[in-house]
Symmetry: C2
Amino acid sequence: MEHLSIDTIKTWERFYRANFINCLSGFKSANLIGTVNKEGQPNLAIFSSVVHLGADPALIGFINRPLAAAPHTINNIEATGVYTINHINPSFVAKAHQTSAKYSVEINEFEAVGLTEQFIHPIIAPFVAESNLKFALKLVEIVPIKHNNTFFVIGEISDVIVPKELVTADGFINIDEAESMACLGLDSYYTATRMNRFGYAKAPKLI
Amino acid sequence: MEHLSIDTIKTWERFYRANFINCLSGFKSANLIGTVNKEGQPNLAIFSSVVHLGADPALIGFINRPLAAAPHTINNIEATGVYTINHINPSFVAKAHQTSAKYSVEINEFEAVGLTEQFIHPIIAPFVAESNLKFALKLVEIVPIKHNNTFFVIGEISDVIVPKELVTADGFINIDEAESMACLGLDSYYTATRMNRFGYAKAPKLI
């Protein structure tokens, strides 16, 4: 085991350091976020920072990078208040990764990478037709993170599209059977295999 | 595929709904956070919400549940400004899950579940000796999320303990070889298998 201080890490070349730091948080969810601007122009972008925030209300957060680096998704969400989150599956993971490229604002990433827009009335943001598990959200709040100019975007789930047979008797969803993927760092994608399910942990009662 | 509206989901039994909503964000990182209070009493708790926030500065965030449900970790971080994040491996995943039980504040979860405190001078928060990949952080900011009384806790990485042989030529860390796990919902744990590594995506140049 090697002990590295941040002073050492800061001396590293920029991309080496970014790869290294990006792996430390551990495996991440791999999702595509679908939006439209006020004119209805679709946008699709990959995010590895989608995080569960609470079940009641059903809140989900994600980190949007600084506006200079990634303006389209957050601008569209701010303009329309609506977005979709779509799990990524192996059959289209290469196309999903390609949405991380810097396309101009007038480019529709669905068309650019070859994925299919799916509109489900009355939700104005597009789902990814190819995705096996997806949901729509309404914007709740955008929290600016002042230390690095990112944004924590919070939404409330409004609709869920899920394969019924993968929802188990206690509400747990077998997303591995839906072929949902995990990701790591900036460009690596994983399938997941369940090892344990434990149930609710209780502290021993004092006698 | 089934289309479920939030109005339907809200009618579900509480635990069924919690399991369901908790699976929607996708696979999550599985980490133990180690802290001490001002008297040096250790605390250890499992978190599935650790998220990469930025590489320069090296910022990591996590969601702490409302104070009434989970006060110890956040109180200790606020009191000392220091904490450790430790990846979870299959050899101790059952013990890691057991830290999710509600232990009284005077209980040291390391002792209660059978994990080993590892102190690395001068970091006052304990690492998990059994963990193959771990790092220490200094508190940067605690952002209250008013919609559900959770907190987004932001820290800057100060030290990293990593198996040198798993860091590749471009800085990427093979955390699957470190046996880092992913988790899902409230109680399920996964190993991950790499399927793709793509590299940096570029948009086609216009001619």
